[in-house]
């Protein structure tokens, strides 16, 4: 019924899709691992980044693969500012408030985009967007292959940063024991903001990589946010390798369930996986105790 070729092709494509999911999830898991909150604004920020990349291309013809180098630092500072000047002060240190604030931000960002750009779906057309590599039994889309490579690079960079730099050490200290870190003189508000900045920077990278092969509209980010949550929970909150592996697994799961259940129900495979993981093993494959 289903030839191994089709199955293998679905798995491979799932891996490629999963790589981009992983990129989005990396930012989320970093933020959760350190600030211990789930950033509900993640999807909206992704949408905003995608719109930015889109307009950069439409207005000045900036190729997304070049724009990524510009957008990443911009979004780092945006994330830093959001955490430092809005989310941090507004939550008064209460986790539940932080949930609400990030939710509020998500609503604001998403609907501002909706108000400004209507609900129309837009795409960009790059001359090499449809380039593929022929593997004999299947074709792999070049942009998505680039996405896989980028995901690996970003994951490696993040891991190096966390484990080999001073900034990373400070971040890990705050993640583990906030009070202790404060007592040894670490500026926790600054570390939180830096972490959030890294999280949004990952989003910017993901956005630039998605734009060539994906559409953009005000709710595009949402499609990714719950997927990103699933990955983060599956891979373990706060675990960088977990987010990477979780992303790949989720991509494959979606691809396979799409194959067996049809396109529209493919998404259900993700949510059900998500719910099951949350209920059965909330700390995921690599995470610490929730």
């Amino acid at each position: 019924m289903l030839s191994p070729t089709i199955l293998l092709s679905a798995i491979l494509n799932g891996l490629l899709t999963g790589a981009v999911y992983a990129l989005v999830a990396l930012g989320l898991t970093l933020i959760y691992g350190v600030l211990h909150i789930i950033n509900f604004a993640h999807g909206a920020l992704l949408t905003a980044a995608m719109f930015t990349a889109y307009f950069a291309f439409k207005t000045v013809g900036l190729d997304p693969y070049v724009a990524v180098f510009l957008l990443t630092p911009i979004f780092f500072f945006l994330g830093y500012a959001l955490q430092r000047f809005v989310i941090g002060p507004a939550s008064h240190g209460d986790d539940r408030n932080m949930l609400l604030i990030t939710l509020g931000l998500a609503v604001i960002i998403e609907n501002t985009l909706l108000f400004a750009f209507r609900a129309d779906t837009r795409t960009i057309e790059l001359p090499y967007a449809f380039a593929t590599i022929n593997l004999g039994f299947t074709f792999l889309a070049v942009p998505r292959l680039l996405g896989l490579i980028a995901a690996l690079i970003v994951a490696a960079t993040l891991w190096l940063m966390m484990n080999r730099t001073d900034v990373g050490r400070a971040i890990r200290a705050v993640a583990k024991e906030k009070l202790g870190a404060e007592l040894v003189g670490i500026d926790v508000a600054h570390v939180y903001a830096v972490t959030f900045g890294f999280g949004t920077a990952c989003i910017a990278v993901a956005a630039c990589l998605l734009i060539p092969s994906y559409y953009v509209n005000p709710t595009a980010g949402n499609a990714f946010v719950l997927i990103a949550f699933t990955i983060v929970v599956l891979g373990g909150m706060g675990s960088v390798p977990g987010a990477l592996i979780g992303g790949l697994v989720t991509g494959v799961a979606e691809s396979l369930s799409g194959l067996f259940l049809g396109e529209s129900l493919g998404q259900i495979g993700i949510f059900l996986t998500f719910i099951i993981v949350l209920l059965v093993r909330p700390r995921g494959l690599f995470g610490a105790r929730a």
């Binding site: 008064h92 939710l103 604001i108 985009l113 108000f115 949510f271 719910i275």
Partner: protein, 329 residues
């Protein structure tokens, strides 16, 4: 008994409005505001009194709406019975989600996430399942009769929703003063300490979830009867999940009249936003998002809290009422 007096006063005052005002626009505004207040009243039980923030209350609203619609349209069941069954259906969904989440010990962010996920799953299923009409939705036949729970006059709908809100207020107040309520509030304040004092936290949270779901489902059932059309976006879309939590937070989380105050305020803000900018989609939600952040930032106890603070300033500082404080010093 006398503690119910405020509810009586408020309800009677609201009931009198259609007798004095005949503007359909105003009545429509009030009907929708009361419906949202009912949904928010439900959220407030679990989130305000219990401290468990659900980001997917649309799951209950939508279930109430769909059950009421589908039972009438596909099975010819009487509207009133379909309404009751809709509430029951919502309560059932609440029991399932609650049992799964609380037995697994999910709290905080995780709980918010899982409720969001459940609502999304329901939305996707409703958008493709034939029984709900898939993408097209379900249309309830116009039948202006009492038996079909449809009315010619808007005032009649108004009194129906007001009755539901009144019932919800009474239930909330009874809960507030009961042992169950004291336990629920204790869970909100400190779950471990509550456990050590003999509170079966899983059972109490589950109970609160069921009551919460039933109330919000009732709002959904009403939606079907008032608008006569429901689809997956309307039923299970995030708009309702957001409004259900927004109204209690703005009005005063964990207070009796918070959701009602919040609903009227939010709807009014929405109207103002719309009148200023025309019917541009999304702007009202932007306003809501800003208000949410501003309220959490500067007025964590909401409007009711701000009013209570003012009243306390004016009164002699002798009796301090133990109202909910969201910001920890």
């Amino acid at each position: 008994m006398k503690t119910f007096a405020p509810i009586l006063i408020v309800v009677v005052a609201l009931a009198a409005i259609p007798l004095m005002v005949h503007s359909n626009v105003l009545l429509n505004f009030l009907v929708v505001a009361l419906m949202i207040a009912l949904a928010g009243q439900g959220w407030n039980i679990l989130g305000g009194y219990g401290g468990q923030y659900s980001f997917g209350h649309a799951a209950f609203f939508g279930t109430g709406a769909y059950v009421t619609a589908v039972l009438q349209v596909r099975y010819g069941i009487n509207a009133w019975i379909a309404f009751m069954l809709g509430i029951l259906g919502g309560a059932l969904v609440g029991a399932v989600i609650g049992a799964l989440s609380f037995r697994s010990g999910l709290r905080g962010s995780y709980f918010a996430l899982v409720t969001l996920a459940f609502a999304e799953v329901l939305r996707i299923v409703a958008s493709v399942a034939p029984i709900t009409g898939a993408g097209v939705g379900t249309l309830v036949k116009l039948d202006l009769s009492f038996a079909a729970l449809q009315f010619e006059s808007r005032a009649a709908f108004y009194w129906v929703i007001l009755t539901l809100v009144a019932i919800a207020l009474v239930i909330t107040h009874v809960l507030e003063r009961s042992r169950f309520g004291a336990w629920l509030i204790a869970i909100r304040e400190n779950e471990d300490a509550a456990m050590a004092l003999g509170v079966d936290t899983t059972a109490v949270k589950l109970g609160a979830m069921v009551i919460s779901a039933a109330m919000t489902a009732a709002a959904g059932c009403f939606y079907t009867q008032y608008f006569l059309f429901v689809d997956s976006g309307i039923a299970y879309g995030t708009w309702m999940s957001i409004e259900a939590l927004l109204t209690p937070i703005i009005g005063g989380i964990g207070t009796l009249f918070g959701p009602l105050l919040g609903a009227l305020t939010v709807r009014m803000l929405g109207e103002i936003a719309r009148s200023v900018t025309g019917d541009a989609p999304g702007l009202d939600l932007v306003v809501f998002g800003c208000v949410l952040i501003l309220v959490v930032w500067f007025m964590p106890r909401g409007l009711a809290g701000a009013v209570a603070d003012l009243a306390r300033h004016l009164r002699r500082p002798k009796h301090v009422s133990a109202t909910r404080e969201m910001s920890r010093g």
